[in-house]
């Protein structure tokens, strides 16, 4: 009996994911309305529930893809995977105002460069504080605080140890999760309520999943503006970290 049900769920993964996500959102909006009287946005709660489920999925399976490592929930990984995520991000630009993007374009580009550099420097400082002395390890950890993709790309290019690469990925993941959860709470304190600041936000924080998830929970109208800069960030980081930034690190340490 149970086998038959699990079989159906497994072989219809994407459809199963629609049901699971739908139930999660319903639950999140009930919590938002009843327990917080709408103070905390339903999608923020839904994202936190998603992360908690990912934690339990990871603990239960020992895998790295959260809940989607549970075989009959693999469809969640497809629905939330890079293809549909990027497809839906592009769709958010339907409704964005091109004039606003042009107006904030210059600051968006500046914030991209400052964002990558700043993140790298913060990572470097903490790597040194924790006792790393070789430029390769320091630069890899610095790259990890840019995003969890830049870390391993840089580490692989420089020949860092797998332990250091693991730390760099974890640092990037912490950043991404924290941005996803924290954005709605910090938004009012940093003036994150208009297209200009959303583009700067995307450029400074850069983690696409964190920025777009966090903005969605803050105000969905801001998502396209944050996403349009954030999607350049990881590429820029992959370009700068193993080259210019590593050379500078190597000169200092």
């Amino acid at each position: 009996m149970l086998d038959v049900i699990l079989d159906v769920l497994t072989s219809n993964g994407l459809v199963t994911a629609f049901v699971i996500v739908g139930i999660t959102m319903w639950l999140a909006y009930v919590i938002s309305n009843k327990l917080t009287r709408g103070m905390i946005h339903g999608s923020a709660i839904a994202i936190v529930i998603g992360l908690v489920l990912a934690y339990f999925g990871g603990v239960a399976t020992g895998g790295s893809k959260g809940l989607s490592d549970v075989s009959f929930l693999a469809g969640i990984g497809f629905l939330g995977g890079s293809m549909l995520r990027d497809f839906a991000i592009v769709a958010t630009s339907f409704g964005a105002n091109f004039d606003e993007i042009k107006k904030a374009g210059f600051r968006g580009v500046i914030s991209l460069f400052i964002g990558v550099l700043l993140s790298f420097v913060v990572g470097v400082i903490f790597a040194v504080m924790f006792g790393y002395t070789d430029a390769v390890s320091i630069a890899t950890i610095g790259a990890g605080t840019v995003t969890y993709i830049v870390g391993p790309v840089t580490g692989a290019a420089l020949g860092a140890t797998s332990e250091v690469i693991a730390i760099s990925i974890a640092a990037g993941l912490v950043k991404s999760v924290l941005v996803m959860v924290g954005t709605p709470f910090i938004a009012r304190f940093i003036g994150l309520n208009n297209p200009m600041s959303a583009m700067v936000y995307g450029g400074l924080l850069g983690t696409t999943s964190g920025v777009t998830g966090g903005l969605a929970a803050t105000d969905p109208k801001l998502v396209p503006y944050g996403a349009v800069t954030a999607t350049f960030y990881t590429g820029l980081g992959c370009l700068l970290a193993p080259t210019v930034l590593f050379i500078l690190t190597d000169l200092i340490f």
Partner: protein
């Protein structure tokens, strides 16, 4: 027809992704550089042209609007597929550095975006051709 809207969206996505791969190749990086950003700009310009010239039907716009509103469910599925265990078990350096970088970056947002604006400025976003993305 609904599929026209979805096809325009998908076409922009593919063109953007291909352009992003080429930018990556030119820069010598094994990664897609800004493909999604290019696709977004393309979609904005194309839809704007089509709407202004009246060449796009309501059902076609609904096809775009559907995916626009599917964004948050997709993000929740993404959150549920994150390596949260990896983030929490990466050791103190990973956690401290991750928290510090976010705090420093948050502090820099007002510096770069100019003085914080009031909530009224949200009206700048104006009426959109898109559907309600608040679901």
């Amino acid at each position: 027809m609904v599929i026209y809207g979805v096809a325009i969206l998908a076409g922009c996505y593919l063109v953007g992704t291909i352009v992003g791969e080429f930018i990556g190749m030119l820069m010598g990086v094994d990664s897609n550089v800004g493909g999604v950003g290019v696709a977004m700009l393309l979609l904005i310009v194309i839809v704007d042209k089509l709407v202004k010239s009246g060449k796009i039907s309501k059902p076609a716009l609904d096809g775009l609007s559907f995916w626009n509103q599917m964004y948050i469910p997709v993000i929740i599925a993404m959150a549920a597929s994150q390596n949260v265990v990896g983030a929490l078990t990466g050791g103190p350096l990973a956690i401290v550095a991750g928290i510090a970088v976010v705090a420093v970056s948050w502090a820099c947002v007002p510096l770069l975006s100019g003085k914080p604006k009031t909530d009224e400025d949200i009206s700048l976003l104006g009426p959109t051709v898109g559907g309600e993305a608040d679901a």
